[in-house]
Every structure is written in structure tokens, then in C-alpha cells.
């Protein structure tokens, strides 16, 4: 049973560019959440998708957008990259009515903005 798969694992972008990160949820899960984790900090919630709609959003600017596809996979897009966007981006999948223990995280995408 595959867990959460994220791609790519590492990425280097230049300031001002745009980036797309991808996530395939755990089999059977229908909800995808994205988190940003800066070095030495805990993960910060970006947004959550269910039934191809954004259900909740954290305190992130509109430069951060996402999408969920009919097969439950998801993309995170970041426009006009800033140096401060350098972080580990984590995808977590869950069932729509799961409590905390239902969340499964991927290993993340390490984004470096230069």
C-alpha cells in the first residue's frame, strides 16, 4: 500500500520564477493538505483540498495556489518566488472525516530559491 508520494524531491529555482509541486495521496484517501516547513521550524498549514475544491487556507499569500484532480492527486503552485519561499513542502493526505491520526505525510519537496 503506497503512502504519500511527492515529486520532485529537490528543486532549485530562481527568484521570480514559478514552481509546481505534485502529490499523490495514500490509497483510499480523498483529502490533501499542503504544509511549508522552514528550517528549524514546525510545518505551517498552507491549504487543504477536498472534492477538487479548496476547503481551508492558512496565512499564505495568493502567490500560493493549488489544485486537486479527480483521482485525488494534487498540485501546489507558487508564483513569483521569493528567497523566503525556500523550505520543505509537505503534502499530507487523509480521509474527509478522519481525526488527526488519519493524516499521512509524504517526505516532501525541498525547494531552494536562489
Amino acid at each position: 500500500d503506497a503512502g504519500v508520494t511527492q515529486s520532485p524531491t529537490h528543486l532549485i529555482k530562481t527568484r521570480g520564477q514559478q514552481v509546481t509541486l505534485r502529490c499523490s495521496p495514500k490509497s483510499g484517501h480523498d483529502t490533501v493538505s499542503w504544509y511549508q516547513q522552514a528550517l528549524g521550524q514546525g510545518p505551517q498549514f498552507i491549504f487543504q483540498y477536498y472534492e477538487e475544491e479548496e476547503r481551508q487556507r492558512g496565512n499564505f499569500p495568493d502567490r500560493f495556489s493549488g489544485h486537486q484532480f479527480p483521482n485525488y492527486s494534487s498540485e501546489l503552485n507558487v508564483n513569483a518566488l521569493l528567497l523566503g519561499d525556500s523550505a520543505l513542502y509537505l503534502c499530507a493526505s487523509s480521509l474527509s472525516r478522519a481525526s488527526h491520526y488519519g493524516y499521512t505525510f509524504g517526505s516532501g519537496t525541498r525547494l531552494t530559491v536562489v
Binding site: 510545518p43 498549514f45 476547503r55 499530507a92 481525526s99 491520526y101
Partner: protein
């Protein structure tokens, strides 16, 4: 969402028991307590969850006093592979699945030989 406070770091030796305490003074009636473990360059992994008293699984125990204003994660006989960051989270069990996990800075546990 109730805020949590944990020690920034802890040191231990192999074979010892480690207890990490988390304070959550403003915990609400519907809130439950969950602990995650995170290794470098990996996503957090669920360890244990509880509402009150004591919960035990194959990995850890969670002790929650009657007032629920704190909780203690207990790791029996730690090994080097238990070196990680441990996060305490508090959230509403009655909510829908559309919950966002609120992480603090966690506790960095270093286990030495």
C-alpha cells in the same frame, strides 16, 4: 486552537526512558492530544493520540492528567533511531476531517550511545 508549549530540546542515552511534557492550558472540551515524530528530511509521522488518562501502543505511552492541561509522551528504552523532533498537537475530535494541523517548534530529542 489550543496553543502548546514544549521543551526545545532534550538529551538522553540509549536504553533510558524519555518523558516529554507538553503544556496546553487552554485545551477545550472537544480537543484531543496527538504526538507526531519527524526525522530530518521526512514528513511527520503519527505516534499516539489520547483524550484523557493513559494511552499505550507499541511505540509509546501518553499520560494525560485529569485537568488535561498538560500531557506527557513517554518513550521506553530509547535507541539512537529515536533521535528526532517530537511535536505535540491539540485539536477538535468532533470536527470534520477538514482540520489543519497546528505544529509548534517541537522538541528535539538527541539520543547518544
Amino acid at each position: 486552537l489550543a496553543k502548546t508549549t514544549q521543551p526545545i530540546s532534550m538529551d538522553s542515552y540509549e536504553g533510558q526512558e524519555v518523558n516529554i511534557t507538553c503544556s496546553h492550558n487552554n485545551i477545550a472540551t472537544n480537543d484531543y492530544i496527538t504526538w507526531y515524530q519527524q526525522f530530518p528530511s521526512q514528513g511527520p509521522r503519527f505516534i499516539i493520540q489520547g483524550y484523557k488518562t493513559k494511552v499505550t501502543n507499541e511505540v509509546a505511552s501518553l499520560f494525560i492528567p485529569a485537568d488535561r492541561k498538560s500531557s506527557t509522551l513517554s518513550l521506553p528504552r530509547v535507541s539512537l533511531s529515536d533521535t528526532a523532533v517530537y511535536y505535540c498537537l491539540v485539536g477538535d475530535i468532533a470536527g470534520t476531517g477538514f482540520q489543519k494541523l497546528v505544529f509548534g517548534t517541537g522538541t528535539r530529542l538527541l539520543v547518544s550511545p
